[in-house]
């Protein structure tokens, strides 16, 4: 990760040396935290436009003097609870090894209803009982401090227990532990991802987990996904409490979240669901948001998330929140198209798309200015609230761009359609093919041959089928390379980044 001669490498080496008075466990913890902090800061710096070297120098400078911090870390060594911390670290290590061995969770989750009864492994009830045992008190304590809306237990083939807790701020906290000798001990949080639990099959109450088996043998019917308009309707039909909106007349950004509903194996188990979010802009660019999980009947239960404050600078409001608490959609105007000058030939672009995040020379997270250098001037820019759909019809390529990022209180002035907006997904049609030779227009049967690990996804549009060709390792559903087919033939290919929200930011997961 770091060169010993680089500023990052030197700082880590200094911290390591100064922490020698601590035991190896405490030293490793401090080093891991320092490394994670610095890498996060460097990623932020790069996303703000700094070079890697500049970002690294800035991160190290902001971190402070290694010797002074190490001295304070030694002095701050926990005086109580040391045994509990050690137990948690140990459990995390065991689970971390397990997680690495298991690979992406989605690939290993399998139904454990009647069809799986013959195999040795946990049941949903067994996982719930194991999670409630005193051996998992530390992880349960962490969950107790979160606002849990829904819970879904997966008893997997590995065998292991995976439990997803839907938190009130549109995040899913996943805990997992291997199933050994009829129990699961050492649950630890492994992912804290953006998304929703659509198929609750357990109840979390007073710090206890009870499996209720809703998904054991019946399909989950989600109905059509929400749209901006239906989210607004749901809001107006059943608005959240006045404290969530403050009842002021302010612009709002409505976002219909498609949480990437997916079928795992042949079972009707789905992982993520739908939601509406409404961001309400306030003074100085600060914003709060309210999230509502989308119910099959087209209703929502609005909640103000725990971490509900943030910045919306650069986003384009698509609604207004009246003093009566109702949302009114704006009629977003499309900016005048920027047409390639007559006679200017389109640039030479290789019509290939790759799962590692590129298409025609454009890489995910690049800015619009960089994309234009590869592809020429786009023809259409359509703002969609938090994003902007930008297309190059002559190249049969379009992308979704997002506004710039907010870091350290700095306000970036980019808009989703501006030159510093960053590309989050690229979709191609017509003459394109993947780097493994899967062409648009090829029959569905070609998918399995070129991508043996591909999985089929629930269709959101009638008559079409979506395939995850190469899921992004460790990322939420929908990241990576996907294909859509209609009438048995591939019609489009998309490579997408993931978005995870943490606090006030929208953070790319490169």
């Amino acid at each position: 990760v770091s060169d010993a001669r680089s500023p990052l490498g030197r700082l880590l080496e200094d911290v390591r040396r100064e922490l020698r008075p601590l035991g190896w466990r405490a030293r490793r913890r401090a080093l891991d935290e320092t490394r994670d902090h610095l890498l996060s800061a460097i990623e932020d710096g790069i996303s703000e436009g700094a070079s890697r070297a500049e970002a690294e120098r800035g991160a190290v400078a902001r971190f402070g003097d290694a010797e002074a911090i190490a001295t304070r870390l030694c002095a701050a060594r926990p005086r109580r609870r040391r045994r509990v911390v050690s137990a948690v670290v140990g459990a995390a290590t065991i689970t971390g090894v397990f997680a690495l061995a298991a690979g992406p969770i989605a690939e290993d989750i399998a139904p454990h209803g009647a069809a799986a009864a013959a195999t040795a492994g946990p049941s949903e009830q067994g996982c719930a009982r194991a999670f409630d045992s005193s051996a998992n008190a530390a992880t349960r304590g962490l969950i107790r401090r979160s606002n849990v809306l829904r819970v879904q237990i997966f008893a997997t083939r590995v065998p292991s227990c995976v439990i997803k807790f839907q938190l009130s701020d549109e995040r899913v906290l996943t805990v997992q532990a291997p199933w050994v000798r009829d129990t699961a001990v050492g649950f630890s949080a492994t992912t804290h991802a953006h998304g929703l639990v659509a198929g609750p099959n357990a109840v979390w109450r007073n710090g206890r987990l009870t499996a209720i088996g809703l998904l054991s043998d019946r399909p989950l019917l989600l109905g059509p996904p929400p749209t901006t308009a239906t989210c607004a309707d749901a809001w107006n039909a059943s608005p959240p409490t006045p404290t969530a909106t403050r009842g002021r007349s302010e612009p709002a950004v409505i976002r219909a979240l498609n949480g990437g509903v997916s079928i795992i194996s042949s079972s009707q188990q789905s992982i993520n669901g739908f939601a509406c979010t409404v961001w309400i802009a306030g003074p100085k660019g600060h914003a709060t948001y309210v999230v509502g999980a989308w119910e099959p009947q087209g209703t929502t239960r609005w909640r103000k998330p725990i971490e509900a404050s943030g910045m919306l600078r650069g986003a384009i409001p698509n609604a207004d929140l009246g003093t009566d608490g109702r949302l009114t959609l704006r009629n977003l105007t499309v900016p005048a198209p920027q047409v390639t000058p007559n006679g200017a030939p389109p640039p030479k672009v290789s019509h290939e798309i790759g799962a590692t995040g590129w298409a025609g020379g454009v890489k995910l997270y690049e800015t619009l200015a960089q994309a234009i250098r590869h592809l020429g001037t786009p023809t259409d820019k359509i703002p969609t609230g938090l994003g902007c759909e930008i297309s190059w019809p002559a190249l049969h390529l379009s992308g979704v761009f997002m506004f710039g990022f907010v870091r350290h209180g700095k306000r970036h002035q980019s808009t989703p359609c501006g030159n510093t907006a960053r590309v989050q997904s690229l979709t191609v049609t017509s003459t394109w093919k993947t780097d493994r030779g899967l062409r648009v227009g090829a029959p569905d049967s070609e998918i399995g041959r070129r991508y043996p690990g591909s999985t089929q996804v629930i269709s959101l549009a009638a008559g079409s089928t979506t395939w995850y060709l190469v899921p992004r390792h460790g990322g939420p559903s929908g990241m990576g390379l996907t294909a859509v087919s209609e009438g048995g033939r591939i019609t489009e290919l998309t490579v997408a980044a993931g978005l995870t929200t943490f606090g006030s930011d929208i953070v790319p997961s490169p």
């Binding site: 971190f63 911090i69 948690v88």
Partner: protein
């Protein structure tokens, strides 16, 4: 604000930031800077001794998560931490009231 002026208050600031919800160290630093509109810009590393000290005192708890293949420690307020934060808030209000009265009386 001068770092020395902040030093005695880092623990309280960290507890206050965690009241909004669990967070890892880097997110906390960002939150402190953002919420204070850039006034509280700490030497970022100084937050970790505070976190470890507060955990040792039982005011916060933590667990490992994985993010992009690396280990990330996430901290959350305990019930003792919430009580301690309430107490510190009361003390701060009392201190601020007295200081305001003093400063306003001398100008």
């Amino acid at each position: 604000m001068h770092p020395e002026a902040l030093r005695g208050h880092i623990d309280t600031m960290v507890l206050a930031a965690l009241r909004a919800g669990p967070a890892h160290g880097y997110a906390l630093v960002r939150e402190l800077a953002t919420q204070s509109d850039g006034v509280f810009e700490l030497g970022e590393g100084t937050v970790y001794p505070a976190l470890h000290r507060l955990e040792g005192d039982g005011l916060i708890a933590s667990t490992w998560t994985k993010y992009e293949g690396r280990r990330r420690r996430v901290y959350a307020l305990t019930s003792s931490g919430e009580a301690a934060l309430d107490e510190r808030h009361r003390d701060w209000r009392s201190f601020a009231r007295g200081m305001n009265a003093l400063l306003e009386g001398t100008t």
